[in-house]
């Protein structure tokens, strides 16, 4: 299939899609003027970006100093979220004006949503945290209209784009010489690296001294999300993924190298290395959980217990003073033992799957998780340290050399913790490799078959019992590996790192990212474990927002950010899926069952 543009001009109202749904009337009215609306929305966004947003200078001086209205202070020098708005707005205008671009409405809608969310986040933050409406209405009577204008701009853009009818995503079939594609991939991956570094460090370290961290981070995330949605709508992302699929080995190697280069970017400080390592731990665990939930379709609500078991085993074999077993084994051996022990527990927890299904199984796993937490809290067998935890776990080291030291390569000084970062990158890469191989193996296909229909899978000759237990066993082993790393990296293992809420967070990471996919699990884990770092200042509301976010994700995008191509039956409504594929056109009215 080649890219086909279906221009929808006001001259041919017959080609207009009829709209259904809540805003059908509004969309029908807007349909003939969709291009104009999109351009107007883009212009409004630009205007909004240049209008003052607050009566005090954002990101400058002590907060909340209501210094001046920075109205046209620097016409071309806007920075931060206003720069993002300018870029998104300009892109919307350009794409809307060029009728040749296929899927133009869909692209602009992505940009418009980005604008809306950025305007909302910053506007809300300014009014809520900047001292109420006073932040927008100054005492001398001047009003900062920026957020309102940009918000309207974003909404108008989305309205215009939706009214114009969302085209099918174009499919590009370009094939370039192999070396061009290699160079392209390297460039793209380096851009991704820089973006990751920018996102990670955006807003800096959250805390009392830096109340901006959370909002700057969220705003950047929203802007990138808008850009990402637009790129995805243009079909270019799909093309890039096809290209990287064509050079699979090369892509994997480049990605790994690029990931190892993170310490050379702006994220190369001890703090960010620690944050990145923690993300790595949860990403590895999330990938393990993804086997159980994403592939085999077995909901596990006590999964973090396996991370805990791995961590406690490692802590006890580390030679820490508080450990019950006074031996100090080499780290590699410790990892293997932790992993095996966690795997054994995984098999035990998984064994009820032989008789229990669905949400009952979820409850059984929750019960196992709670038993683990309670036992760890009560220092069972003296192995967990109870409320005192197991502190002072020695760092991984070879001879006198410790992994927690900073290292010098020539004249280049890498921050301390960087070796742990390298280690976790390799660990995550290994876990990904295991996952990818399993997913496309005979075993993985058996899991997916069980997920889709267990009885049918059994009828096809799959021995469902052992295979389901194997899912738990392998998932738990991966978590155990991560746990061993976690114990040495944080140097303290306490039972309250492994509570029910952590299990829910891991599950949310898998779901948010997209079940059954590797990038999904990593992305989900990154977002859910970076956010708390950024939102320190708002830690009170963090879990509240988290709970609401779970509800909203399930409501509006149950397939996650990176949906699995093969996954349909479990979470998406087949009817809706079909409609989305058919693209524009009169939507069939749903027949009530």
């Amino acid at each position: 299939m080649t890219a086909t543009a279906t221009p929808r001009t006001p001259a041919t109202p017959a080609a207009m899609p009829r709209h259904t749904g809540r805003f059908a009337g509004l969309l029908d009215v807007a349909a003939p003027r969709s291009t104009v609306l999109m351009i107007v929305g883009g212009v409004l966004t630009l205007v909004g970006a240049y209008l003052p947003w607050a009566t005090f200078v954002l990101n400058e001086g002590p907060y909340p100093e209501k210094a001046t209205l920075n109205f046209f202070v620097a016409p071309f020098g806007v920075t931060g979220f206003r720069l993002h708005l300018v870029i998104l707005g300009l892109a919307a205008i350009v794409v809307a004006a060029l009728r040749r671009i296929p899927a133009r409405h869909r692209i602009v809608r992505g940009l418009g949503i980005g604008v809306t969310v950025v305007a909302l986040i910053n506007g809300l933050w300014i009014t809520v945290e900047g001292g109420g409406l006073g932040a927008i209405t100054a005492s001398e009577g001047s009003i900062a209209f920026g957020s309102i204008v940009a918000l309207v701009g974003g909404l108008v853009t989305v309205l215009g784009a939706s009214a114009g009818g969302l085209e099918r995503k174009p499919v590009w079939t370009w094939k370039l010489p192999w070396w061009v594609e290699w160079v392209l991939l390297v460039v793209l991956f380096v851009i991704v690296l820089l973006l990751v570094a920018a996102v990670l460090t955006s807003g800096g370290q959250g805390g009392v001294v830096n109340p901006y961290a959370g909002v700057v981070f969220l705003s950047l995330l929203a802007a990138l999300g808008g850009a990402f949605a637009a790129l995805n709508a243009s079909g270019l992302l799909t093309w890039v993924s096809v290209v990287s699929e064509r050079h699979r080995t090369f892509s994997v190697i480049v990605l790994l190298i690029v990931a190892l280069l993170l310490p050379l970017t702006s994220a190369g400080t001890e703090y960010w290395m620690t944050v990145a390592s923690n993300i790595g731990v949860y990403a590895a665990t999330a990938i393990g959980l993804n086997i159980v939930v994403g592939l085999a379709g077995l909901l596990d609500l006590g999964y973090v217990a396996f991370l805990g078991i791995g961590a406690f085993v490692a802590a006890n074999l580390s030679g820490a003073a508080a450990s019950q077993i006074g031996i100090h084994l080499p780290f590699v051996l410790v990892m293997i033992i932790s992993s095996v022990v966690a795997g054994m527990f995984g098999a035990i927890v998984g064994s009820p799957t032989l008789r229990v299904r669905g949400d009952y199984l979820a409850i059984v796993t929750l019960a196992f998780g709670e038993i683990f937490v309670r036992s760890a809290q009560n220092n069972i067998g003296g192995l967990t340290g109870g409320a005192n935890a197991i502190p002072n776990i020695p760092a991984v080291g070879v001879g006198d050399f410790k992994f927690s030291d900073s290292i010098m390569i020539g004249s280049l000084r890498l921050p301390s913790g960087v070796l742990y970062y390298f280690l976790i990158v390799l660990l995550v890469a290994g876990v990904m490799l295991v996952f990818a191989h399993l997913k496309y193996s005979r075993l993985g296909r058996a899991w997916i078959a069980i997920r889709e229909d267990e009885d049918a899978a059994r009828a096809m000759g799959i021995r469902t019992g052992p295979i389901k237990i194997l899912a738990f066993l392998i998932g738990a082993m991966l978590a155990g590996l991560a746990g061993a790393f976690f114990a040495h990296k944080t140097a303290v293992v306490a039972y309250d790192s492994f509570r029910f809420l952590e299990s829910v967070t891991l599950l949310a990471a898998v779901i948010l990212g997209g079940m059954g996919t590797i990038p999904g699990a990593v992305l989900g884990a990154s977002i859910l474990f970076v956010l708390p770092e950024k939102l320190r200042e708002f830690s009170d509301y963090r879990l509240l927002l988290f709970g609401l976010a779970l509800v909203l994700i399930m409501r509006f995008r149950p397939q996650g950010i990176v949906p699995d191509r093969h996954r349909k039956a479990e979470l998406t409504d087949p009817d809706v899926e079909d409609v989305a594929k058919e693209g524009p056109g009169p939507l069939p009215t749903r027949v009530e069952p």
């Binding site: 379709g297 909901l299 609500l301 009820p352 008789r355 229990v356 299904r357 669905g358 949400d359 009952y360 979820a362 409850i363 059984v364 929750l366 019960a367 196992f368 709670e370 038993i371 309670r374 036992s375 809290q377 009560n378 267990e454 029910f500 809420l501 829910v504 599950l507 949310a508 779901i511 009170d540 509301y541 879990l543 509240l544 988290f546 709970g547 609401l548 976010a549 779970l550 509800v551 399930m554 409501r555 149950p558 039956a569 479990e570 979470l571 998406t572 409504d573 069952p593």
Partner: protein, 317 residues
């Protein structure tokens, strides 16, 4: 365990039985909500425990912020008002939850509403912690019933507080009333019809949405009553109480056969007894009493998932 004489040992045992029955009837009251909702839409409403918690806070808020002190300290005014207030708040939250979180997912695959329920649970708990003044720590809750206790003269004496008796009686009366309601009234018949086959029920002129809302409302109200009684009995409430007791109640509902009112009551009483007796007699004492409940839960789900009163034919996937 120390070597003690026969009668004190007996009195300890009987005291634990009494404690178990009081806790058990409380759990039964919460379990009714679980069992009704599961019976009708086969959803494990994880957030039901939080409804119970919210009900307790609703009752406490009425006592502290709305009622004048004179009324709030007179038990025969305060008790019914607090019960009704707790029930109303819980009912409101339950209905809102159904409307905004579960109804849009009515026809979604099973995993979606379960995860939504987890989200609602976390959100409710956190909303309470953030917005209720002082809820970051446990809050004192007044005893809304007559102070004092019945003492049965066996050994060291078996002490049963009046408020404990009230709790047992109220939950039995409410459960009985609920069963009568479901068996005898038109609405009850509509509920049973909806739970058997929603589509056929619709053909018979029943609006399933209304029936489902009603189910959530009744379950929520019962949980709210349970919340106020819990506070009144234990004299303090905290935001974690919902999760723990919710799991216990779920266990009870499964134990009795989910979807079955009598089963929920019997299951609740059994769970209460397991907790009280395990805390007294099992190794590890009270520190591990939760663990024993979870062991019971796993054992029931694995070996008799239809519970003691449930129909065994029901397929659960």
């Amino acid at each position: 365990m120390h070597a003690v004489e026969e009668t004190p040992r007996l009195s300890t045992f009987l005291s634990q039985i009494a404690n178990g029955l009081v806790l058990g009837s409380l759990i039964a009251l919460i379990a009714l909500g679980y069992t009704m909702v599961y019976g009708i839409i086969t959803l494990i409403n994880f957030a039901h425990g939080e409804i119970f918690m919210v009900g307790a806070y609703g009752g406490l808020a009425t006592l502290t912020y709305i009622l004048p002190t004179a009324i709030a300290t007179t038990w025969y005014f305060a008790l019914p008002i607090a019960l009704v207030a707790g029930a109303l708040v819980a009912m409101l939250i339950a209905v809102a939850m159904e409307r905004f979180a579960y109804r849009p997912l009515r026809n979604a695959p099973r995993l979606a509403p379960l995860i939504t329920a987890l989200g609602v649970s976390v959100a409710l708990q956190e909303a309470m912690r953030v917005f209720y003044p002082g809820a970051t720590a446990a809050l004192p809750f007044p005893n809304l019933f007559v102070e004092g206790a019945v003492v049965i003269p066996i050994g060291d004496g078996v002490v049963i507080r009046y408020v404990g008796i009230l709790l047992v009686v109220m939950s039995l009366v409410l459960a009985f009333g609920l069963e009568r309601f479901i068996e005898r009234t038109r609405l009850g018949r509509a509920m049973r019809a909806t739970s058997q086959d929603r589509d056929v029920a619709r053909l018979m002129g029943i609006d399933p949405d209304r029936v489902i809302v009603l189910t959530f409302a009744i379950g929520g109200a019962l949980a709210g009553v349970a919340g106020v009684l819990y506070g009144s009995y234990l004299n303090n409430i905290n935001i974690d109480m919902g999760f723990q007791n919710g799991i216990f109640a779920f266990t009870a509902a499964v134990l009795g056969g989910i979807g079955n009112i009598r089963g929920a009551v019997v299951g609740g009483l059994m769970i209460g007894l397991v907790k009280a007796l395990a805390g007294q007699y099992m190794p590890g004492g009270t520190a591990y009493d939760y663990v024993w409940i979870f062991v019971v839960l796993i054992a029931v789900l694995v070996f008799r998932p239809q519970g003691f009163f449930g129909e065994s034919e029901r397929v659960r996937a």
